[in-house]
């Protein structure tokens, strides 16, 4: 019988990589998850703890997939603490993916928003000229710099790290670097994932210059399949219409960058 993507599939964690003191990558084998498109996500069950939406990470080996998680609340801390040999459940993949442009590309990732950016790097063409911006608060929160350079080793590329406190790379917010770059370079495609305010500014900067831009949104998500409604942003459902949205569309969405909903569905300001 064909696999029911809504039915939780149990997978065993095979390897854990510490990216920073608070960020880990968990690697497991699963043919379905290993072939997802950049931007797609899975609902990940940590038995006895919770289930949470996770962007699916790169699969450098055939048949392997990974999730990169930052410990934050009970659910993400539960996933962070999963050891090699332990089981997690996955269902999906869900959601759409980035439209890949060719030429000069800019990828802007903040925190674990870098995950879909790394997956996107595995889909770029050999001649694409790629700039990756990694935003972090400080030096000890920077990760995936080596991975990005490694994935881009055959492309013309540069990886720029910004830290809010200047302890590593360029000092300042990543969006200041976005502004500098879009003023200098006529990018063919800009992709972003991370904190919504960062994405909001990136989309505004790109859109105002007429550049193609897409953002992968994150919202409170319970079902992942368009039933519970928790992840709505204006008229859009992040799980079914996204997670990836065009900048043109987002600019006209009155909730993007301004509001999100809590567990009860009440709108709250960012």
């Amino acid at each position: 019988m064909q696999r029911n993507l809504n039915h939780t599939k149990i997978c065993v964690i095979e390897k854990v990589i510490d990216e920073t003191p608070t960020v880990r990558t968990l690697i497991f084998s699963d043919d379905v998850m290993s072939s997802v498109l950049p931007g797609q996500f899975a609902m990940v069950w940590i038995p006895g703890i919770n289930e949470l939406p996770m962007s699916v990470m790169i699969a450098q080996e055939s048949g392997k997939a990974a999730f990169t998680v930052r410990k934050h609340g009970p659910a993400s801390t539960g996933l962070f603490n999963v050891k090699v040999g332990q089981q997690i459940g996955v269902r999906g993949p869900y959601g759409n993916s980035f439209d890949l442009k060719q030429g000069k590309l800019l990828l802007v990732g903040g925190g674990t928003g870098l995950v879909p950016m790394m997956r996107l790097l595995t889909h770029i063409k050999p001649n694409d000229d790629v700039t990756v911006l990694i935003g972090a608060k400080s030096k000890n929160e920077v990760f995936f710099e080596d991975l990005a350079n490694n994935l881009l080793k055959n492309n013309p590329h540069r990886v720029i790290v910004t830290t809010d406190d200047g302890t590593y790379g360029e000092k300042g917010f990543v969006t200041s670097m976005v502004e500098k770059l879009v003023n200098e370079i006529n990018f063919d495609g800009i992709y972003t994932c991370g904190p919504e305010i960062m994405m909001y500014k990136t989309v505004q900067l790109a859109h105002s210059r007429g550049l193609f831009v897409q953002a992968s949104l994150e919202r409170m998500m319970k079902c992942g399949v368009g039933i519970c409604g928790s992840c709505c942003v204006g008229e859009d459902l992040v799980c079914k219409d996204g997670t990836v949205f065009d900048g043109d569309h987002l600019i006209s969405n009155k909730e993007f960058g301004r509001f999100h909903r809590n567990k009860a569905g009440i709108l709250e300001n960012y």
Binding site: T8, P47, K222, C223, I227, G229, C232, E235, A264, I266
Partner: protein
Amino acid sequence: MEPSLVTSIGKIQLERPVMLASGILGISLDVFNRLYRSGAGAVVSKSLSTEPWDGYPNPTIFGINGGGWINAVGLSNPGAPNFAKMIEPNKDVPIIISLVGSIPEDFSTMVEQFKNSKVIAYELNLSCPHVAKVGLEVGDDPELVKKIVSTVKNSTNVPVIAKVGLGTTHYLNTVSAAIDSGIDAITAINTIRAIAIDVETQRPILSNKFGGLSGTPIKPIALRCVYEISSKYDIPIIGCGGISTWEDALEFILAGASAIQIGSAIGDNWIHVFNDINKGILQYMKRKGYSKIDEMIGLAKKS
């Protein structure tokens, strides 16, 4: 002449017979507008309580191999006052407000909070199978059902619908109690209490352990209930349970439903399901020579 999809559920008139079921996508007026444009004849809100509820932790939903879902979202909702404020700007969308509570006063308090909103009906959730002290636990007590229905009917002139389900008391007793107290229509049925266990980890998957079974597995049961209610009582019925195609929708209409609600099918086929069903019903009507939905309601009872 083109057949008409207009249908009446007692005093409630709808342009189209397919509505959004309660519990699905129901927390944003913007989404309601989109669903209405997508072909829904009406939208039913999430079940609202007097205060905001977070609902249960995840996992809250599980897809069954072979089709169907088990969910225990836990009636998460922003609370009646917040919701009433959100739908204040509504002009066009026929909104039915679903209400959940434990005592008659919960319901009458909330009805009062919606008095300035454009609402075409209230649907009393007497049948959620996985939250304590509300839903099915209320629906299983016919005396309490009578008190709730009477109280709500005395609080508003807007039509009131009772949504019944399969609990420990025979659902026909709940239907009877609601009709005795002046209910305007019945929605049948809700999800059915169920569980899913993962064999690898050897534990229930949903955080609440028990959830409500929905989707195609419950369709024949829901259809049976609609047929039984329409055979026994003269009350408008809204069919709900596992409807995903125009044929499913017509089965419910032929069994006696004046309208139908869609829930799980949205998880499988997204919101195109409304227009797909509308188109299918229209084509069927043309082929069979019907001009109104009303001509088809309950026809299966003749055979």
